[in-house]
Subunit: 461 residues, 2 copies
């Protein structure tokens, strides 16, 4: 058989009469009077190609019996289709069964629940919904790199295994090669000096601190890699392993940071609308009816900005009841965020300058002494989607904030060093990649946008 | 001051007379008679911009005293330079010190050893060599994504935390949240059912097996992510954490695999020659005199192919002595690989069809029953740089090979499932990203091409 051509290419407009060979998997088969129809999908797009097979085929009996899930190669002629919903079909001259499938194949035609499909995560990419999810995930990831490459940002691989804990939080997975049943002890405690890294090591929760070091050499950088939380939360929005995008810019303040975040987020919205139209239409029809309207609105709007103090005033005046209290000095909850973006602004909004007590040590202290240069981007339906800040570039103030947060400055000597020589105002933000995909597909469980999700008690496949 | 412009842009040809503002770090400063020179670098390219400051500046005394490492902003006029080695310089109208640097700054003008610079990995990106290394690393990573995006390959994030061990090797880091000093015990062993994932978990050594599952849905996929080896080897070529690129194609055999590897490798060679010319010239001059010639040769040549058996014959006939024995059935060592690519072929060569005993269980058994459809790409100076294979797509044969390799088929039930329904001939390969960077820069220690390397006893920063 001649070279295979992708089904996406045929459906995008191969001329009738052209001879092609396609290879893919049978999604459905149907036998009529003197004709068999196979819907063949090769993952290059959502739609399957209708293959029409007639009794003249040497192996017509075999073709009639092909089951859902079988891998086939088909050579034939592209023809205009009389059927609704497809411009062309393929009239088979030759059909070869490459890999058969029997009725035990778990992905038969009937609809399955997302819960069930998680138990067959090795097969669910062969379904419509998960095909669409992972095509969009891939396309978005490639778009992330293109966005930053076009703007001259340097991509840096920050370390996954770390001996420092960025947020001062305790939710680190430990990484070790010590014998778990008989670790070496010293003074009644495990002697980590004998562990692989000669220290207690864990999985990173963020590449930000190392990213900052690189911004102090290359001006504009970004990370895009896996991050981890050993948090025992079984919610639809938490996973133990997820990917994060973290740009960082030297010679930049909070306004520059917000401008980048706005450009970036709109770029990604426009990207899926323009490049993933078929999959987006599928989600709009089957998963979230308001999806396209919402994404189009964000893609076209310019984002508002609001002080945290102003946000609190709006929330206090709100006519709706909130579950969580509203008070200057308290953090905003999702219900508050959604009220601000949906009811007050009617579109994406940056809330900026939060009380220092509720934010991380590395955020820059404002001149008022009580707020820091933090920003959260809130969008309709989900609330916060991007969090960022201008970083504290003044060595003395940073050290004070570290002590206040219970972090020993010696443990981050290298981070302080970056403020000791050639320090610059700088700023960055983080975007959780899975949250982005959920936002742009309408999928509501993080387990359904990660190829093989890791959550408490689950690390199968 | 007006918007900053990147120094790369100015040196690439800003017209004399244009007013610009640059921001960056002072690499050297020199005070002459009635004039001060600052070499300013912003990481956008290797070269620094020469800033000429004259006593007319309001803060000339401050400017005269600016030390190496300080961050500055300079507004001025682009002018043709009378000095050798630079087309333009910047005549300062205004110089602002953003972040000072004193003489304690570790990166003073003098040359430092790579060993010393590893101890200040947080500052070394501000040096010429490491600036060039990490610009090339970034540019290559972005090129990897572009290569596969252009060819319609789906990017998949395979899991980092895993409960299966792809190679059947034992060199896994354990990932745990159990109390290290008092883990729960059951029947005299640690009870991992009480660990975070309710099982013994570790860091992945390869995304291949999960990548194969995705190829069976999307036809052509690739992974690009971190992988890990808890190997206690202190060599210049081994790190505990490194990045790997692993494409996988359904409906593909070993020839297709080699064709993709050849396209890919040449694409990356041509990429750095065309897009990283300044940094490549630097490595050719300061690190490895033969670099450019070697990379150009590979970029322009078509790769040879040789059977493993043929390779053994060549080695047996070789007039040079080898340290390791040569015999059909034994694996090739670097000395053998280099002899084949440098002496026998005089260029890149694929060695294919290795004895089954020395290769992994998932490689496809050839009809001769004694070899498997494996391929290694050998290149001058390093030997093997890419390893790949056609995978065993026949469920029964795969199960036999698993048992032979001491892997319980039940533990990889999902992998076997991918051969149970709609199985296809498929093939893929792996390229260690750091090995690639070493090859394309001439840098000889893997610790010097990773931002913050992780090796035995080292996970600083």
């Amino acid at each position: 058989m001649n070279e295979r051509i992708r089904i996406r290419e045929i459906l995008a407009g191969a001329p009738a009469g052209r001879e092609v060979t396609v290879k893919g998997w049978v999604r459905t088969s149907r036998v009529g009077k003197g004709v068999a129809f196979l819907a063949v999908n090769d993952g290059s797009c959502l739609a399957s190609l209708q293959v029409v097979a007639e009794p003249g085929l040497a192996n017509y009996d075999e073709v009639r019996a092909i089951g859902t899930g079988a891998a086939v190669a088909v050579r034939g002629l592209v023809a205009e289709s009389p059927a609704a919903g497809q411009a062309v079909e393929l009239h088979a001259a030759e059909v070869t069964v490459i890999g058969s499938a029997d009725e035990q194949y778990p992905l038969q035609k009937k609809r399955h629940t997302f819960e069930y499909l998680r138990t067959i995560a090795h097969l669910r990419p062969r379904s419509n919904t998960f095909g669409a999810v992972f095509r969009i995930r891939s396309s978005l990831a490639q778009a992330v790199h293109r966005f930053f490459a076009e703007r001259g940002f340097l991509y840096v691989h920050t370390p996954i295994i770390t001996t420092s804990d960025c947020e001062g939080a305790g939710e680190l997975f430990r990484v070790t090669t010590l014998d778990p049943s008989a670790p070496p002890m010293a003074d009644g405690a495990v002697d980590f000096s004998q562990d692989f890294f000669a220290a207690q090591a864990g999985l990173t929760v963020s590449g930000q601190l190392e990213g900052e070091l690189f911004a102090q050499a290359f001006s504009d950088i970004y990370t895009f890699g896996p991050t981890f939380r050993a948090e025992n939360s079984n919610t639809p929005r938490h996973a133990a392993e997820f990917w994060m995008i973290e740009p960082e810019m030297a010679f930049a303040d909070l306004r520059d940071d917000a401008a980048l975040a706005e450009d970036f987020f709109r770029y990604l919205c426009r990207h899926v609308l323009a490049n993933c139209a078929e999959d987006m239409a599928f989600f709009n029809e089957h998963v979230d009816r308001g999806l396209l309207a919402r994404v189009r609105q964000v893609a076209g709007s310019s984002f508002a900005m609001m002080e945290y103090g102003e946000a609190i005033e709006h929330l206090k005046r709100a006519a709706v009841p909130f579950e969580y209290p509203v008070e200057w000095g308290l953090d905003l909850q999702t219900e508050h965020e959604r009220y601000l973006t949906e009811q007050v602004v009617g579109g994406p909004v940056f809330v900026v300058n939060y009380p220092r007590e509720i934010k991380a040590f590395y955020m820059r202290l404002n001149d008022d002494g009580r707020t820091v240069a933090a920003m959260d981007l809130l969008v309709p339906k989900v609330g916060e989607i991007i969090g960022g800040s201008q970083r504290e570039e003044r060595c003395d103030l940073l050290e004070i904030r570290m002590r206040e947060s219970g972090i020993a400055p010696e443990s981050l000597w290298w981070y302080l060093d970056s403020r000791r020589w050639g320090s610059t105002p700088h700023a960055g933000f983080g975007l959780g990649f899975e949250r982005l995909i959920m936002y742009l597909t309408g999928m509501e469980n993080i387990r359904d946008v990660i190829p093989f999700p890791r959550t408490p008690r689950h690390a199968e496949f």
